[in-house]
């Protein structure tokens, strides 16, 4: 087998194994609940029968491994179980399917993340590469100090300053990003401007610093000096000698930051009361609605793992040592 294919398959396999263990951890969260959580969910007045019925619904009478197999099988079909909220001690069940809660919000979150990514990725790469090329210039120092400050700042601080400046003092943008499903696209974009801007500021700082470091370490390679000593022009040094070797580090930087974006979205959604999956997860944590928490955690973790996997694979397929084996 070609070594590239072999390595890619190996990484994919590793990704699947990681996902398996992650799902195991997330599944076992329900095992770690204290024994009396049935009463906690259903209320103090719950009869023994309703508690027993609830436990049976969760399958707590079956062995754990069997429950895991059932759970993972239904998750694979998009069934994350039923929410804990909306249940009552009387046994009346007004709870909703987790998937119905998650699906519309997942779409909202992806929209926001994509919005921020479309702005921040090109901007950060541009800033990072130019800062690396004009290293130690005033421009570089300024960008460096500004990004260090942004990185050290909590996301909600950035968010509230933006609200103060762009929504409260100058009412240009709405401070609440309450979007609905039937909203036209431009309206949606307008309403999500502030959350997207907040995410962009935070991500650009991280990403620009990482890009700069990656490019600088690349430019220090002896083969770059060799190219200069062969009289290759500055633009050709970058395009022909640095870039083919830069895909792997740049892909890693992008993937890392998109993964960061997915997580950063949680706080930003809460600030702007944006109906996304992060907000849903925080609410579920407060009410200890475990099935919803599990579903959200699984979605976040899977996104995170897949993004890193893609970066890994880009690194492999652009590695000349693997592309052209001995």
């Amino acid at each position: 087998m070609h070594p590239v294919l072999a390595t890619v398959l190996q990484r994919l396999g590793l990704g699947v194994v990681t996902l398996f263990f992650v799902s195991l951890i997330i599944f076992s969260s329900i095992e770690m609940l204290p024994g009396d959580f049935g009463e906690a969910v259903l209320g103090q007045a719950a009869t023994e029968e309703t508690v027993a019925a609830f436990r049976r619904e969760l399958g707590l009478d079956k062995p754990a491994w069997l429950r895991y197999v059932d759970w993972i099988a239904s998750v694979a079909q998009g069934d994350f179980g039923t929410s804990f909220s909306g249940r009552a001690s009387s046994g009346v069940d007004r709870s909703r399917e987790v998937i119905d809660l998650v699906a519309p919000r997942l779409w909202n979150t992806l929209f926001l993340a994509a919005y921020a990514a479309v702005i921040s990725v090109p901007l950060a790469l541009f800033l990072g590469i130019t800062a690396a090329l004009y290293r130690n210039s005033f421009y570089d120092r300024f960008v460096n100090a500004a990004t260090l400050t942004t990185i050290s700042t909590p996301e909600f601080f950035v968010a509230y300053i933006l609200i103060l400046l762009l929504a409260s003092l100058n009412p240009w943008f709405p401070s609440l990003a309450n979007v609905t499903a039937d909203m036209p696209l431009w309206e949606r974009i307008y309403r999500t401007s502030l959350p997207a801007l907040t995410l962009t500021l935070v991500i650009v700082a991280h990403m620009m610093r990482m890009t700069r470091a990656a490019i600088i370490s690349l430019l220090a390679s002896p083969y770059i000096e060799m190219a200069k000593l062969k009289g290759v022009s500055a633009s050709q040094v970058i395009l022909k000698h640095a870039l083919p070797n830069a895909w792997a580090p740049i892909a890693t930087v992008i993937a890392f930051n998109l993964a960061y974006l997915v997580v950063g979205v949680v706080v930003v959604e809460v600030v702007f009361v944006y109906p996304g999956i992060g907000q849903l997860m925080v609410d579920a944590v407060t009410t200890r609605d475990i099935p919803v928490v599990q579903a959200c955690a699984l979605i976040f973790a899977a996104t995170y793992i897949i993004l890193n996997l893609i970066a890994d694979i880009i690194g492999i397929v652009t590695n000349p040592r693997l592309l052209h084996p001995r």
Binding site: Y223, M226, K230, V232, N245, H324
Partner: protein, 539 residues
């Protein structure tokens, strides 16, 4: 192509001063050096680490590396002022009229492009030749440089080719535009001695064939003697002396230049003994249980004598040391110490067995904990093996310092406050502190400059005479072997080729590999390479 006529001045550098930035301030690296090179001449630029030879070599191209700046002097290349020239003007020269060959070819080739594309990149880029012409010419150069399968090797990527071959491809790359000047920056330093010879022959022939002027930078006088018409010796950024090669070799004027021969002036009187201190019997060893690195190795080390193990990288000489120390238990065979078998693994040996065999490493820098003082470093074995405490330890440490010719003021110093030679001395004192019978010296002088090597070797010889210590001396350097050994073991690919008294091993007849190894070691004779090529062609 420019017409070449030996005799015209090609490079003229006057009063070159270059500063380098380190430790948050500027230091002088080159302190006012002049350099004149005529067309078709090869200049050897030699000096020890930190002498500034590489910086000066690059300056001849008008290039100063990042972190350095030219603060004074003029550089004229064929009538062009390289100090005043713009970057674009210099770029026009680089890769067309001036070429550069870097030390580590493996790092200096871009991993993402084929060798042939990199070979002709500058030639085509500067419109010296069309792509097709340049490629055809590159194949001819590969042939001239005796690369295997010259027609197809250009289609390969750098990591698919060996180090010696890469270095020759890089020479082809430098030669491709038929430059007036090539800078060779330690091109063979990273190679094994038998590979080095092939590369040297190839480089010299091609430089002669095209009558190219060259600056050949190295720290090895014997290598430069083969390549250069005349030699310039640098030290601490200043010129020591410059002379025609033969004159420099036969009648060096400055004491420093003379000292570069120093190590070659020691020669221990061979002394044979049958009293065996350590014996390795039929040892096989493998890393990770699979990669077999030693095959049926047997070595006998007589008491109070020095046995030198020589071989190139991958010959198994360092692995042999690991087997003796117990770091790598043998998969079969045994190690006998004073006639009794030693346990194979380190953890099975008792403290006394550990004490009797000590080790000195190649890099004294990494062999000492940078956070411990000299007193702690030498004192620990005294405490650990001999059970001394407090004042007694300190007294012993001072005694040991005297033994290695350092005074007691060193006791509070940290390794970073010592010079390279002093560090290696402290390592010797640490080994002596255990009062050992056998010391394994693993390339102990190869990281040191010539003059310091001499001091260390003399010290080791004196200690042997005074204390009767046995040495197992691992090295790849034949000159060091001649200087210090009683017996020699030659190793190749994990096997012992031969073992015997120094006089026997070094005089013919030799087994094939020993012959190749010994004949490949450059000698301080400008005719050596020609003689070797002649004799190998005849044989």
């Amino acid at each position: 192509m420019t017409t070449k006529k030996k005799g015209d001045v090609l490079v003229e550098m006057r009063d070159i001063r270059i500063d380098g930035f380190s430790d948050e301030r500027w230091h002088q690296i080159i302190k006012g050096v002049d350099l004149t090179l005529h067309r078709g001449e090869v200049m050897g630029l030699i000096g020890e680490s930190g002498a500034g030879k590489s910086t000066l070599g690059k300056a001849a191209m008008g290039y100063t590396q990042p972190g350095c700046k030219l603060v004074g002097g003029t550089i004229m290349f064929d009538g062009i002022d390289l100090v005043k020239a713009s970057e674009a003007e210099k770029r026009k020269l680089w890769g067309s009229r001036i070429a550069y060959v870097a030390q580590s070819a493996a790092a200096a080739f871009n991993p993402a492009h084929r060798l042939i594309d990199q070979t002709v990149e500058a030639t085509v880029g500067h419109h010296v030749q069309s792509g097709e012409e340049a490629r055809a010419d590159a194949v001819e150069l590969y042939k001239a440089l005796q690369l295997p399968s010259p027609e197809t090797i250009g289609g390969r990527y750098p990591h698919q080719v060996s180090g010696g071959q890469l270095q020759r491809v890089m020479t082809a790359m430098a030669m491709s535009p038929r430059p007036d000047l090539i800078i060779f920056d330690e091109p063979t330093t990273a190679l094994d001695v038998t590979t080095q010879v092939e590369v040297l022959v190839a480089m010299r022939n091609i430089v002669e064939q095209f009558n190219t002027a060259a600056i050949y930078i190295t720290h090895d006088l014997a290598v430069v003697a083969q390549m250069a018409d005349f030699i310039k010796v640098l030290r601490y950024g200043e010129e020591v002396e410059e002379a025609e090669t033969r004159k420099m070799l036969s009648k060096p004027e400055m004491p420093y230049t003379k000292s570069l021969w120093a190590v070659r002036s020691i020669e221990k009187q061979e002394d044979i003994s049958d009293d065996i201190a350590l014996e390795i019997r039929n040892v096989d060893a493998a890393y990770g249980g699979t990669v077999k690195v030693l095959h049926d190795v047997s070595i006998r080390i007589p008491r109070g004598r020095t046995v030198a193990v020589v071989g190139e990288s991958g010959s198994g000489k360092s692995t042999t040391a690991r087997v003796i120390t117990g770091l790598l238990p043998p998969s079969s065979g045994e190690v006998l110490f004073n006639g009794t078998p030693l346990p194979g693994a380190l953890k099975d040996r008792n403290r006394d067995q550990l004490r009797r065999i000590q080790m000195i490493y190649q890099m004294a820098d990494t062999a000492m904990n940078p956070r411990q003082t000299v007193g702690e470093i030498i004192g620990r074995p005294v405490e650990f093996y001999l059970g001394k405490r407090g004042k007694a330890v300190e007294e012993r440490v001072i005694e040991l310092l005297k033994l290695i010719e350092l005074d007691e003021s060193f006791i509070d110093r940290l390794p970073s406050e010592l010079s390279g030679g002093q560090k290696q001395r402290i390592c010797i004192a640490r080994a002596l502190a255990a009062e050992p019978e056998l010391i394994i010296c693993d390339e102990v002088t190869s990281a040191l400059d010539q003059i310091v090597q001499e001091g260390i070797l003399k010290l080791l010889l004196r200690l042997q005479k005074e204390l009767g210590i046995t040495y197992l001396f691992i090295t790849h350097d034949i000159a060091t072997v001649k200087a210090i050994s009683d017996e020699i073991v030659v190793m190749f690919q994990g096997k012992v080729v031969e073992q015997g008294p120094k006089s026997e091993i070094l005089s013919p007849p030799h087994p094939d590999y020993t012959e190749l190894l010994l004949s490949s070691v450059p000698e301080m004779d400008p005719d050596w390479l020609d003689g070797l090529v002649g004799s190998r062609a005849a044989g």
